[in-house]
């Protein structure tokens, strides 16, 4: 077996990186979010004025900054995977730490956004738009937390030297999940904050 295959595809050829089980979970989550996205889109079709009007009150800047934050965080996770593929546990831990830190930034920005909405008396029952806005973003928010927990567990194990250049499925598994959280936000942001 050539070293190239070992480092580039430390998984079975043809299958995605990480544990296959996480990919079942990822696709299940994508399915749930996908249906939710479509539900939003078609609910909007029946209520265009309401959605367009309410959308104006969203904080587009914080949405955009959060997109940048998550994309960058995802990139850091890529670097963490690259590091462990070279057997560099310490670098892997640093990159993961940075990614988790950015996840925290995302949460803080989102909390400010939620705080502004809640103090304006907006809740799930205000109208259909806010029902979707809050449901989708809170649901995603919880996924960010879950992703951070997973990354933290991976980081801890990496810190203890639990991964090597040959055996690091755990890092790839956590990374794949985190990229999914990123991917979801990449769709959520234009859908809820931009399209009108």
């Amino acid at each position: 077996m050539s070293t190239q295959i070992l480092t580039l595809d430390s998984h079975k050829a043809g299958t995605p990186p990480g544990d296959l089980a996480i990919w079942f979970f990822i696709f299940a989550e994508l399915l749930a979010f996908g249906i939710f996205f479509l539900a939003y889109a078609f609910a909007r079709a029946n209520n265009v004025e309401l959605f367009n009007e309410s959308q104006q009150h969203l904080n587009r800047e914080s949405g955009a900054i959060n997109t940048v934050v998550l994309i960058t965080s995802s990139y850091f996770v890529v670097r963490a995977v690259a590091a462990i593929r070279e057997g560099l546990s310490r670098q892997c831990v640093y990159w993961l730490g940075a990614a988790i830190g950015l996840g925290g930034v995302f949460l803080v920005i989102k909390l400010f956004e939620f705080h502004a909405k809640f103090s304006a008396g907006i809740s799930l029952s205000t109208n259909t738009f806010y029902m979707f806005y809050l449901s989708l973003t809170i649901f995603h928010f919880m996924h960010v937390i879950l992703g951070m927990v997973i990354l933290a567990a991976v980081m801890l194990k990496a810190h203890q030297g639990g991964y090597t250049a040959e055996h690091h499925t755990g890092v790839e598994t956590g990374a794949s999940y985190w990229h999914m959280v990123d991917l979801l936000w990449i769709i959520l942001f234009p859908l809820v904050y931009v399209i009108r």
């Binding site: 079975k12 544990d19 089980a21 979970f25 809740s123 799930l124 919880m142 040959e166 499925t169 598994t173």
Partner: protein, 144 residues
């Protein structure tokens, strides 16, 4: 070489996923509890309504009827019966007039429950209150 699909990962997803969605349920339940007073009009739950619910339960009405669509499908929906029958008098007269030995013919039978006048009034109060719950416009029409 690492294994592609491990039991421990499947187990972690089970525990993590279940905990995650249970937390989401708790969060949604919390919000529901905040909103409910505006939809169930609980300020109108008088002692008569409370007693009426007891009468409803003690006679196992749910064993034949539906209430807001839940129950048995043998007899009519009663969540909107107060509106359908234009008030409580019909309801009371109906319950009172069931023959103990049944009505003749091949009809579905409702037992004679021997309710007191007080119980009948309480039952009507309960059904009236139930009819005022905001059920998102269900049922589709007055027939239930």
């Amino acid at each position: 070489m690492s294994q592609a699909f491990t039991k421990s990962m499947a187990r972690n997803i089970f525990f993590g996923g279940s905990a995650f969605f249970f937390l989401l349920l708790v969060a949604l339940t919390f919000d529901t509890m905040q909103v409910l007073p505006k939809r169930d009009h609980r300020e109108n739950i008088t002692p008569a309504v409370e007693r009426g619910k007891m009468v409803w339960e003690k006679n196992n009405c749910i064993g034949c009827h539906t209430l807001l669509g839940e129950g048995a499908y043998y007899a009519p929906e009663l969540g909107n019966v107060y509106a359908r029958r234009g008030g409580g008098e019909f309801i009371k007269a109906w319950i009172k007039s069931r023959p103990a030995e049944g009505t003749p013919g091949n009809r579905r039978q409702m037992p004679q429950f021997n309710l007191t006048d007080q119980e009948l009034d309480d039952m009507v109060a309960f059904l009236k209150w139930t009819g005022e719950i905001n059920t998102a416009k269900w049922p589709p029409n007055i027939e239930g």
